[in-house]
C-alpha cells in the first residue's frame, strides 16, 4: 500500500509543461529580456542617477544635520557661555546665548524669544545704568555663589513688566551684567540662573541650605529651586524637586518670621495672612509640587 502511495508522488512528479508550452514561455521570456531597460548604457545612466540621487540625499541629510548640530550647540551654550574672556554656566536649560558685539543675547530655545542679555560693564557704566533707570528694588543677594547686586527695573512694555539686573564683580572695576525680563522668564527661573551660576576661574560660594527670595515686588518669600508649572494671578504651581517635608516646615517658619501670620492649618494646607491683612496665601505641598493660592480679603470686586 505504501508503495502505491509512493507511486502517486512519483506520478505527480511527472507533471511538466508540453513542448509547445515550453517554447511559448521561452519566446515570451526572450522577448521580455530583450525589451527590458537593462541595456548596458541605460544601466550606466541608471547608476549615475542613483549616485546623483544619493548625493542629493546626503546633501539634504547633511543640511539637516548641520541645523541639528547648530541648534544643539546653541542648546549646549545654555550651559556654557562666553562673554569676552569670561566663561560661565548656569542651570537654565531652556535658554541659550547668541553672541553679539557686546556680549550675549539670551533666547528661549523653543521660541527664539529674547529674554535677556549678558555683557561686561565697567563700574561707571553700572552706575550710569542704575542711576538712570527706574530701579524699584535694590538688594544684595547674600549666600548666592558670588557677591551679587540685584536691581529690579520697572519696565512699561507690553511683554516686559520687570527687568532684573544682576551685577557680579569679575575683575577690578569690571562687572558681569546679567539682565532677565519678567514675565518672559518666571521669577523662579531667573533666581535659579543666578543661584547656580559658575564663572570659570572664580570659586563659587556653596550654600548648603535653601536660599529664599522675594518674587518681584511680592512680600511673600519663596525658596530658590522652584520650577514653574502653571502660573496665574490667583494660583501658582511649582515643582520643588529638592523640597522635603522638613524643607517645607523650615520654609513655613521663614514665612512667619517675615511678618506673615499663620491663620490656620487645614489638612496639608497652610494659610498665612499678610501683616496688613490684605493678602492671604494658602500653601500646599503635594509630593514635589508646591501650590500657592492667593486671596485678597479686603479687595473690592
Amino acid at each position: 500500500m505504501n508503495k502505491h502511495f509512493e507511486d502517486q508522488w512519483k506520478a505527480l512528479k511527472q507533471v511538466k509543461p508540453t513542448n509547445h508550452e515550453k517554447e511559448m514561455i521561452q519566446k515570451r521570456i526572450l522577448k521580455s529580456i530583450q525589451e527590458s531597460p537593462t541595456s548596458r548604457s541605460q544601466n550606466w545612466s541608471f547608476q549615475w542617477k542613483s549616485i546623483l540621487a544619493t548625493c542629493v540625499l546626503f546633501l539634504v541629510l547633511g543640511y539637516f544635520l548641520f541645523i541639528f548640530y547648530n541648534e544643539n550647540n546653541e542648546k549646549q551654550m545654555a550651559n556654557k557661555m562666553n562673554i569676552e574672556n569670561v566663561q560661565f554656566s548656569w542651570e537654565l536649560e531652556n535658554v541659550y546665548g547668541k553672541k553679539t558685539e557686546n556680549g550675549l543675547n539670551l533666547h528661549l530655545i523653543d521660541q527664539q524669544l529674547q529674554v535677556g542679555k549678558v555683557h561686561q560693564v565697567t563700574k561707571a557704566e553700572m552706575n550710569q545704568m542704575v542711576n538712570h533707570s527706574p530701579m524699584y528694588v535694590r538688594k544684595e543677594l547674600k549666600k548666592f555663589p558670588y557677591q551679587t547686586m540685584m536691581y529690579i527695573e520697572h519696565v512699561k512694555m507690553i511683554d516686559v513688566q520687570l527687568r532684573y539686573h544682576f551685577f557680579i564683580p569679575i575683575m577690578k572695576g569690571q562687572f558681569m551684567h546679567i539682565e532677565f525680563d519678567y514675565p518672559k522668564l518666571d521669577h523662579s527661573e531667573i533666581y535659579n540662573a543666578i543661584a547656580t551660576i559658575k564663572i570659570k576661574g572664580m570659586d563659587p560660594y556653596q550654600h548648603d541650605e535653601t536660599l529664599y527670595v522675594q518674587h518681584g515686588y511680592s512680600n511673600l518669600i519663596y525658596p530658590v529651586g522652584l520650577k514653574p508649572m502653571s502660573i496665574s494671578t490667583s494660583k501658582q504651581v511649582y515643582r520643588w524637586n529638592d523640597g522635603s517635608s522638613l524643607d517645607l516646615q523650615a520654609y513655613l517658619r521663614i514665612i512667619e518670621e517675615a511678618n506673615w501670620n499663620k491663620k490656620e492649618t487645614k489638612n496639608d494646607s497652610y494659610i498665612f495672612i499678610s501683616k496688613d491683612g490684605n493678602e492671604e496665601v494658602t500653601i500646599k505641598m503635594e509630593g514635589n509640587t508646591i501650590i500657592y493660592e492667593f486671596n485678597y480679603p479686603n479687595r473690592e470686586e
Partner: protein, 180 residues
C-alpha cells in the same frame, strides 16, 4: 564578441533549459492555474535576468531560481486573496477548473485526489510539501529557498503531512489511513 547583456541573456536561457520543468511544476502545484503558472514561470526567469548581478552564489542557481519563484508565487497568492476578498463571490477551495492533471497523469483518480488535497492546504504547508515530496529537495535546501531554519522546515513539513493525511482520510476513508 558578446556584450554583457547578451551573455546574461544566454545564461538565463540556459538556466531555463535546465530548470524550466521543475520551476513550472513547483509553480503549478502552488497556484494550480495553467495560465497563471505560465505567467509566473515567465516572471521568474525575467526576474532572474534583472537580478543576476545581485546573485551572490551562496546557493546553487537552481535553489536561487526556486527562491525567486517562491517570492513571485507568494505575491500572486496574496493578490489572489485580495481579489477574492474584493469579489466575495465564491467560497470554494481553490482547485481551478482549468487544471487538467489527467493530461499529464493517465487515469489516476487517487493521484488527482492527492493533488487536490495538496492544493487545499495552507500556503506554507503547500510550499514545503511541494519542495520536499514533488521536487525532492533536502531540508537544508528547502531552508535556503524559504530563508528559514532547517528545524522550522522539519516542523512545518511534519504538520503539513499530518494535515494532508487528515484531508485524505476525510476524502478517501480507510484507504488513505493505511497508505499514508
Amino acid at each position: 564578441m558578446l556584450n554583457l547583456n547578451e551573455e546574461k541573456q544566454n545564461l538565463v536561457m540556459k538556466w531555463y533549459e535546465l530548470y524550466y520543468e521543475e520551476i513550472y511544476r513547483f509553480i503549478w502545484f502552488m497556484i494550480g492555474e495553467q495560465q497563471a503558472c505560465e505567467d509566473l514561470v515567465h516572471d521568474t526567469f525575467v526576474r532572474a535576468y534583472t537580478a543576476m548581478d545581485r546573485f551572490g552564489h551562496q546557493s546553487s542557481v537552481k535553489t536561487w531560481l526556486f527562491s525567486i519563484a517562491k517570492h513571485i508565487v507568494l505575491d500572486e497568492i496574496r493578490k489572489k486573496k485580495r481579489r477574492k476578498l474584493l469579489s466575495i463571490i465564491t467560497f470554494d477551495r481553490e482547485v481551478p477548473s482549468s487544471f487538467n492533471l489527467e493530461k499529464y497523469v493517465e487515469n489516476k483518480e487517487h493521484v488527482i485526489q492527492l493533488f487536490k488535497a495538496i492544493q487545499s492546504l495552507r500556503t506554507n504547508y503547500r510550499l514545503v510539501i511541494t519542495l520536499k515530496k514533488i521536487e525532492g529537495y533536502s531540508t537544508k535546501e528547502i531552508a535556503q529557498i524559504l530563508n528559514c531554519s532547517e528545524a522550522k522546515v522539519r516542523k512545518t513539513l511534519s504538520r503539513a503531512m499530518q494535515n494532508l493525511r487528515k484531508k485524505l482520510e476525510f476524502e478517501g476513508g480507510d484507504y488513505y489511513e493505511q497508505t499514508f
